[in-house]
Assembly symmetry: C2
Homo-oligomer: 380 residues x 2
């Protein structure tokens, strides 16, 4: 990759404005991207209270990197939450709203999320509902959050009955995706993030798919020269889809490829044991199985299957097919008209399917759980 591509500035237009997304190597160092952009960000913060939502873990590793950015705000108020999905509760959101109100938060205050997907989801929800919505900025610190969760305005917390069941669409004004932050991630976390990249690439960007296949080892080794162009390309795909369909009524749902079963796996496991991206990987494998039944060409299925096989993913715990099916049929991707699946028709082409019956899915799922990593043999 060339030096010019080290930092990429993209823009996502949405119904209420635009998100400026800056990604690449050293984004958080003010000198690394254009003076114009940095000034614009400084203007956004000037005279404001800046709330920073972060976890102890990320703060210890990278907190110092925020210093130059925060200098532009009038004052900074730190809000600390626990790592992981557990922080995404209504109670946690309520505590944060109370803290922000008590600290003198106003309608024109700003919020910055500094963490992975959980912190971004929670922070976006908190920003979206505080005083009916304050502007916010995402600084995603995981690969998954940089390429997916931080882009597109989806915010959420969880209920006992399901993940991301409470939330709203509230786009950040800024996303700063600094690939330097990814260098401290474990290989398993990078692998989980790559699942979302692969999901998008397979249906929406075959050039990106080829790049991931080519650079997989460098990506898993957190080499920023390999990561930066992949992050930028994945952001570009996501922006394109979100702009066409900001509130997920149509093509944006392609991004849910692998998520129907993926969410159920997470839910039935109680959101422990598998990372989100890892659960989605199994969801992709199961979707491939369903797609093969509906005519997905075998070479296309094999290409995705082989790439997923190269990722260091944990084994799937033993699970009850019926519990998974029950969970899926309660899922928010279910409508009154039935459960929606995103299935590939071919490389670069998805389709939404809602006519798969419960019994059929249950039977396929039982077979899948016996041997999730094998592609089923062609049936005649």
């Amino acid at each position: 990759m060339d030096a010019a591509a080290q930092v990429v500035v993209q823009e996502l237009a949405h119904p209420r404005g635009r998100t400026r997304i800056v990604s690449g190597i050293g984004v958080l160092s003010a000198t690394s991207w254009s003076a114009e952009g940095a000034n614009s960000l400084a203007d956004w913060l000037a005279g404001r209270t800046l709330f920073i939502l972060k976890t102890p873990h990320v703060d210890a590793l990278h907190g110092a990197r925020l210093a130059s950015l925060c200098g532009a705000a009038q004052r900074v108020v730190e809000l600390v939450v626990a790592d992981g999905e557990g922080a995404k509760s209504v109670r946690q959101a309520e505590q944060l709203w109370n803290a922000m109100l008590t600290a003198g938060g106003k309608r024109d205050s700003r919020l910055l999320t500094f963490g992975g997907g959980s912190v971004g989801d929670l922070g976006g929800f908190v920003a979206g509902c505080f005083l009916r919505g304050i502007p916010y900025l995402q600084v995603p610190t995981t690969l998954l959050a940089q390429v997916d969760a931080a882009i597109g305005g989806k915010t959420a917390v969880d209920l006992p009955g399901g993940k991301n069941t409470v939330g709203l669409f509230h786009h950040p004004d800024w996303v700063l995706a600094d690939t330097d932050l990814l260098t401290t991630l474990p290989r398993s976390e990078l692998s989980a993030g790559l699942v979302e990249v692969i999901k998008m690439a397979f249906l929406l960007d075959l050039e990106l798919l080829a790049r991931v296949e080519r650079d997989l080892e460098a990506l898993l080794a957190a080499e920023v020269q390999a990561l930066a162009p992949v992050v930028a390309a994945a952001i570009a795909v996501k922006c394109r889809v979100v702009m066409l369909d900001p509130e997920e009524r149509d093509q944006r749902r392609w991004l849910n490829f692998g998520h129907t079963l993926g969410h159920a796996l997470e839910g039935v496991l109680g959101y422990t044991g598998l990372r989100h991206g890892e659960a989605v990987a199994y969801g992709l494998l199961f979707a491939l199985r369903l797609a093969l039944l509906r005519g997905l060409p075998r070479p296309a299925a094999e290409r995705l299957h082989q790439l997923l096989c190269r990722l260091p993913l944990p084994a799937l715990p033993e699970l009850d097919a019926l519990a998974l099916v029950d969970f899926m049929w309660r899922d928010k991707k279910a409508t009154e008209q039935g459960l929606v699946w995103v299935l590939p028709q071919d490389l670069g082409r998805g389709v939404m399917v809602n006519d798969l019956g419960r019994e059929q899915v249950l039977a396929e799922l039982r077979a899948f759980l016996l041997d999730p990593w094998s592609l089923p043999a062609p049936r005649t």
Copy 2:
């Protein structure tokens, strides 16, 4: 008023669609308005789960009136909350989300709010965040909710530190404002609702102001022939303002006339003792006092003052000026740049003012609290 004006259909266009607002006598009886409109509403409900959020009080008085409307839904799930501001809590919202999820609520389910402003605010918030937003319908049962709270997409719950501090903009698809529902309201509730009408009329519709002055006794006596055109006209004013400024960045803030002190009165009283509209009446009186200092012509001030004097409003409890000022400066209408007041410049013209210092407001407030019902004598 003529027979044709008994039911009025209006439309509010907003960034994410439109709200159809049907107001007047007998709206909830399917035969009272156009077959086309009724069919369209039936389509909106067909095949859906309809959640109905209501209070025991309103349900006992008017629950049967919903029957013909609900018949179009596939199934109805009732959700009951307590009357009043107390129900507008994050905890209550969380309980409702859990109940809706457990009852099988989906992204394409519908919610209907059946009650006053509190139920509408809470229900709008619950609908706005359930599975990132489901469509909803407001059936406001108080004058205040029909002319103000149900129109414009503001939703909210309260935190201990302030009213309406958590919420979002989420417009209903439908508002059905049936003036028959107002006939069981006590005179004091009608009076409180008229305060919001007067507030809008004074700055934005002088014809409506004259109508309220003329018909005041009939309005306070809940005569539907008097109420229907006032409700329709007030809705028209609110729609016009909201369409020009959907997220309250400019002229929509004129609707906050009387609310800067009004909210503080409610807050310092712990949301008991004064109805919202009653608190706003005192807020208007105080705003008149500030406006006179800044050149509001005395005849204009006297006109509003005289009309407010004709309303049966309770006396203002004894209150500490300093506590009120503290509350206002923490209010969500405060920005980092200062507290914003909406003051009349003349009949039909408001202005936003943010350069009133704390000390000045405190001094004026002390004088006001000694005798809220007198207009201060001209100063030289």
